[in-house]
């Protein structure tokens, strides 16, 4: 009998990745930073199926009949709620993490599809605002490039508390990406490794945020919807507190959420995945009788129309996409975003590399992707007998494995059993 070669031996948890992680710490004594967020397998919307209409309901013709996707966000107390043509938002990815060209392409895509883009941490690019259909502005703990002028430009505001890829941590932008342009935009020295402000200096706790909210409402004449973006953790408590603070809606970013740079530790081991976070948020608002008032935007690993349809069915009002939009422009998820050497001209500040991104072509691709994704969701909705995407409901869903059933409270296929707290009709 021949001996197995060393490389063919099964090593269980001592696989290549474990070894490389140990080697890395052995030489640096530090934790590792990486782009893109978690690569772990987690329960997700693929574990859910949509039930088609048959004899119980009439199906809607995929090819000839309409299904409405127009979405209104923030009508709880904003005088000018945000109306978008499809419930897909482009999430806040900073100018700095992304190139100027990528930001402009994403903004242009929103104009082609009638949706909203969020600016992200690095301030508001003039070109982004000029090209976007609707502009969301983040209020972040660092406030890079932030002022009253930004608030005036906003169609929606996002009070940022955390993101799914690194909840409890602040923004990272590695020195490679802090070029002169970015440094000037953010008021930073060139080339430093940025670990930005950890907490909002002007609202240290939830009680202060109530007063802060009143301030921002006054400054916007009560017109602009105000959302709070939170990373999925203690979703039930956080959603209750956010609702009490007085937001119009909540953006929940699950553990699968993307990032330009984050400690691998944070991406892989902090926070709960997107789908169960959504379930808990919906339940909490329903229990508080606020589901009709407070909108939910869910993000973190949303990649196609099926995710969208299922999220809507579970109670989301819209989804937000980050990584998927980058992929539509050409990103191949190399996990090296933090190094700023993106040959596609997306996650880089290098002048040469930036030339590789054709803005109009990229914009068209992202627009196509958003349209295609909407199309997919609509296909599922119509097959389930809906003339409005938002009419999808939990009762239209089943879980294909016990785990998904247990985390969502949606019955397992082939049964009427729910393997946990029930969610809705059962």
């Amino acid at each position: 009998m021949k001996r197995k070669k060393a490389k063919d031996v099964q090593r269980g948890i001592w696989n290549k990745e474990t070894l490389s992680a140990i080697d890395n710490k052995a030489s640096s004594g530090k934790h590792r930073i990486r782009g893109c967020g978690s690569t772990r397998a987690m329960p997700n919307f693929d574990d859910i199926v949509v039930l088609p209409s048959q004899l119980t309901r009439m199906s809607i013709d995929t090819y000839r009949e309409k299904c409405d996707t127009r979405t209104t966000l923030g009508s709880r107390s904003a005088k000018k709620p945000l109306v978008i043509e499809t419930p897909i938002m482009i999430s806040g990815m900073s100018y700095g993490a992304l190139s100027k060209e990528a930001k402009i392409a994403l903004a242009k895509a929103t104009a082609k599809t009638g949706t909203v883009i969020s600016n992200g941490e690095g301030g508001l690019l003039k070109e982004e605002l000029q090209n976007s259909y609707r502009q969301s502005i983040q209020i972040l703990p660092s406030r890079f490039g932030f002022s009253k002028d930004n608030i005036d430009a906003a169609d929606m505001l996002e009070f940022l508390v955390g993101i799914g890829a690194k909840p409890g941590l602040s923004g990272h932008l590695m020195g490679e990406k802090i070029t002169e342009e970015i440094a000037e935009f953010r008021q930073l020295p060139v080339g430093i490794d940025l670990h930005s402000h950890p907490r909002h200096g002007d609202a240290l706790g939830a009680d202060d945020m109530v007063v802060k909210m009143d301030q921002i409402r006054q400054l916007t004449n009560d017109e602009v919807p105000i959302f709070m973006k939170i990373a999925a953790g203690r979703v039930k408590d956080d959603v209750k507190i956010a609702a009490k603070v007085g937001v119009d809606g909540i953006i929940i970013d699950g553990a699968q959420g993307g990032t330009g740079a984050a400690p691998v530790m944070a991406s892989d081991h902090l926070g709960i995945p997107t789908m169960p976070a959504l379930v808990q948020a919906v339940k909490t608002l329903e229990e508080a009788n606020l589901k009709e008032e407070v909108d939910i935007i869910i993000s973190g690993g949303i990649k196609d129309g099926a995710d969208l349809a299922k999220a809507i069915a579970m109670g989301a009002d819209a989804v937000a996409i980050g990584t998927a939009a980058m992929v539509a422009m050409g990103c191949r998820v190399c996990l090296q975003c933090h190094l700023g050497r993106c040959g596609f001209g997306i996650g880089t500040q290098d002048k040469k590399q930036r030339e590789n991104l054709d803005i109009d072509q990229a914009a068209q691709k992202v627009a196509n992707f958003i349209k295609g994704m909407t199309n997919e969701a609509v296909l599922l909705a119509k097959a389930a007998g809906k003339t409005k995407l938002k009419n999808l409901e939990r009762e239209d869903l089943r879980a294909i494995n016990t785990e998904a059933s247990a985390v969502t409270g949606i019955p397992l296929i082939g049964t009427d059993y729910v393997f946990s707290e029930s969610f809705g009709y059962f």
């Binding site: 008021q187 930073l188 402000h197 301030q215 006054q218």
Partner: protein, 243 residues
């Protein structure tokens, strides 16, 4: 001068009235502010004299107006301020001048912790003492403290400058800053500020705190400190016993 009585007003009503009245009157006096939150936010012109204490966020997002608070000011006063002037005759709470990007704030008394957190521009002068973490992660602007400062002053400041009179500052520095002398230009400018605001002080007596930005790795962040030698005293056997 016209008086406005805030005793029975919510901040929203008050701010609307202030805005309206300042279109016509250049100056206004505000009676009975009773520590109301959000007084005078975003005001663009005119002068308001507040005869009493203010609550949170007085003069937040101030954009050109001139506020005088005759007594004490609450937390977050002058937050996100862009232009104009705030004068506080007594003390101010924590997080004064947080995210200030322009204009001038002068406090005659003491202030709490986190003075000027994330400040980006403008000037804030504290004639009394400031609590801990003053000037944390500032991106620009000038902070001047004429009394004592608390610990960790200037932690991770990226840009901007902090002028201090506290001679014991060396023991209270945050990370990534160094103590420097003021140059002639600075001394001149600050003395001008002092005389403009009637502050009896001399700039040449101050020291400057500046960010260490000579290279990216100068940014010394939190490091795990494993003190193996220190820990030996907790072990049951001494090294000699073991050998």
């Amino acid at each position: 001068m016209e008086y406005l009585d805030a005793a029975n007003l919510q901040s929203r009503e008050l701010n609307k009235l202030l805005k309206q009245k300042l279109q016509k009157n250049k100056e206004l006096k505000l009676k009975n502010p009773h520590s109301l939150h959000n007084i005078g936010i975003g005001l663009e012109m005119g002068e308001v004299i507040i005869e009493g204490n203010t609550g949170f966020y007085a003069g937040g997002f101030l954009n050109g107006a001139n506020l005088t608070i005759e007594a004490n000011a609450g937390w977050y006063t002058g937050d996100n301020m862009m232009a104009g002037e705030i004068t506080i005759k007594k003390n101010a709470g924590c997080n004064l001048a947080v995210y200030q990007s322009g204009g001038t704030i002068v406090v005659h008394g003491n202030v709490g912790s986190r003075l000027g957190y994330g400040m980006k521009g403008g000037t804030t002068i504290v004639c009394g003492s400031a609590g801990m973490w003053a000037g944390q992660m500032i991106l620009g602007g000038r902070l001047i403290v004429l009394g004592e400062v608390g610990r960790e002053v200037g932690e991770s400041m990226y840009k901007g400058v902090i002028y201090l009179k506290d001679k014991a500052v060396e023991a209270k520095l945050g990370g990534n800053v160094f103590i420097d002398d003021l140059n002639k230009e600075e001394i001149k400018e600050i003395n001008q500020l002092f005389s403009h605001y009637g502050i009896n002080e001399e700039a040449s007596k101050l020291q400057a705190l500046r960010p260490l930005t000579s290279g990216r790795h100068q940014y010394e962040l939190f490091e795990i400190d494993l003190q193996a030698e220190e820990a030996r005293k907790y072990s049951s056997k001494s090294l000699e016993e073991l050998l």
